[in-house]
């Protein structure tokens, strides 16, 4: 995923004396990779080109599984939903996570308490979280009551939707659950990155008369950009593969309106016993994510700053 132009030539050139060291360092990881990832992945590639039953191979299918996919309206629906999750969840998580990290990076009384609270959702069992969210977002539930009450105080009436019963709003409830559950992680990673920004840079900027916004814009953002890039790529992949949150909260409903691709893959594999169809979808999605990530990688040279030596 490193793009040639992204870094300096000297860094890219391999050094003979580090050749075997490099391999040795990677070996443990590579063994696991080979056994638990590559094998499984190639296996699924093979399945996607065959008719595959519960007990294994039946016959070769050529491209049939893929062709059937193109004709499957549910798949396209799921893909559309997944793109919705991508464009809603990823930017909000980055912005919210960074804002939280900046706020919690202050020397403030009670900061440990805030850090604890904001991270708690990350470590919670998702099943419990989803059940609670279903309660909160029910038609006459606390969320609607609160918003309606607040609106009434301000002197206007709003009609709140029945979130989970609506093909338009069920997706949003899933988005809120995802943000609640996962933003704390983004925050922690950003917090770690902010801790790594050398203090002298701020001091120097301060001496130069930069105000808080300029310091943030010209020091903080560039210095944490590798982290932002990592989070962006990772969260985009995560959003493409969103599964647990809609699965436990809406089961994809109503009317497939919150069904994600990976959920559909899961249903195909384990509800319909169509591992071949599931594998074809997985590889289709893979190509989709891969292209998306390649584009991201192209773009990163414009905004990611790596501190590498000449």
């Amino acid at each position: 995923m490193t793009l040639p132009s992204e870094h300096h030539r000297s860094w890219r050139r391999w050094r003979p004396d580090q050749q075997w060291e490099g391999y040795l360092f990677i070996l443990p990881s590579f063994l696991g990779f080979l056994v638990f990832v590559i094998a499984a992945v190639l296996f699924s590639l093979g399945i996607s080109f065959s008719h595959w039953g519960l007990t294994g191979f039946k016959e070769w299918a050529g491209l049939q599984n893929y062709q059937a996919l193109l004709r499957d309206p549910v798949f396209w629906r799921a893909l559309g939903n997944t793109l919705f999750y991508l464009i809603t969840i990823v930017p909000s998580q980055l912005v919210l996570g960074l804002a939280m990290a900046l706020a919690l990076n202050q020397a403030l009384r009670g900061i440990g308490f805030y850090r604890l609270i904001y991270f708690m959702p990350v470590v919670t069992t998702i099943v419990a979280g989803a059940i609670v969210f279903r309660l909160l977002f029910s038609a006459q539930g606390p969320v609607n009551s609160f918003i309606e009450g607040a609106a009434a105080l301000l002197g206007f009436g709003v009609e709140m939707p029945n979130w989970l019963g609506s093909t338009r709003y069920a997706k949003w409830a899933v988005v809120f659950l995802t943000l609640w559950k996962n933003t704390g992680f983004t925050m922690v990673i950003y917090l770690a990155a902010l801790q790594g920004v050398p203090r002298e840079l701020y001091d120097a900027a301060h001496t130069d008369g930069a105000n808080a916004w300029q310091r943030f814009r010209n020091v903080t953002l560039p210095m944490i950009s590798p982290t932002t890039f990592f989070l962006f790529v990772f969260q985009a992949i995560g959003a493409f593969q969103l599964f647990t949150e809609p699965f436990v909260m809406t089961r994809g409903g109503p009317a497939n309106s919150s069904l994600s691709v990976v959920q559909y893959i899961y249903f195909a594999a384990f509800r319909d016993i169509r591992m071949d169809k599931a594998s074809a979808m997985a590889w289709f999605l893979f190509v989709f994510i891969f292209i998306f990530t390649l584009i991201q990688n192209r773009m990163q040279q414009h905004w990611v700053y790596y501190e590498t030596s000449e």
């Binding site: 995923m1 060291e21 391999y23 706020a103 770690a192 790594g196 790529v233 790596y306």
Partner: protein, 286 residues
Amino acid sequence: MTVHVSTPTGQAPTGLGRWGRLALHAVLLTGTLLMITPFLVMLVVSLIPQEAFLARDFSPANFSLNNFAETFRQVPFGRYYFNSTVVSVSVTIGQILVSSLAAFAFARLRFRGRDALFLLYLATLMIPFPVTLIPNFLIIRGLGWYDSYPALIVPGFFSVFSTFLLRQYYRGLPMELDEAARMDGASSLRIWWQIVLPLSGPVLAALAIFVFQGVWNDFLWPLVVTTSVEMRTIPVGLNSFVGQYSTAWGLLMAGSVIALLPVLVIYILAQRWFVEGITLSGMGGR
């Protein structure tokens, strides 16, 4: 090694006055309310009996700790706790070591095929899990690990995610550190162990919590590769409260609260290391 006593190295100078602090507190408290409400609901549900929950009667008159006792009575939570702890701790340590070694090589060593290999790593991150679940189960069975600790632990040693995260972080560290150390005759292993690892305190701490909670809460994999009560973990126990026709809400929530506590403790400990780790690392001294 420089030691800052009051402000950690990376902490931005607040420059906030009294009012700024108050405003920040206000914002953070609002956020706290948003984040914590679901937990309060969880706690309340864990305290009331099933009938009261079904009737949506949340009055404190019904509160009791019966659900907590009942979870332990219905499910061998003690054993599950032990297993979850063994598995989560082993995976966290193993995965961080293995990923850190690989990330170090990917970020700071120059060898042929490095970038292509890394690309391959990343690509596999994009394969959705449902299609690899059964192949991986077959591999575990082929290894003779079905229903054993290795099945729960060893596959967790390898993680593209952790490798990627650490590699991004390691790339951000100045290369001069390595070069200076090499001049002094330090080996790569030593650079990794004595320079890079100590410098990555915060990110390792963050990663450790994340890996730990991920394994701690993972459900599907333990369910598929284990079968005996002796090998099962907490989430499998929790999910048994979700039935075909009815869910034991109070038990599920009580169990979730119990499951949450150790992870919170780990977080509190790791968080401290987060800040102190960087203070002592001497980043300012280069």
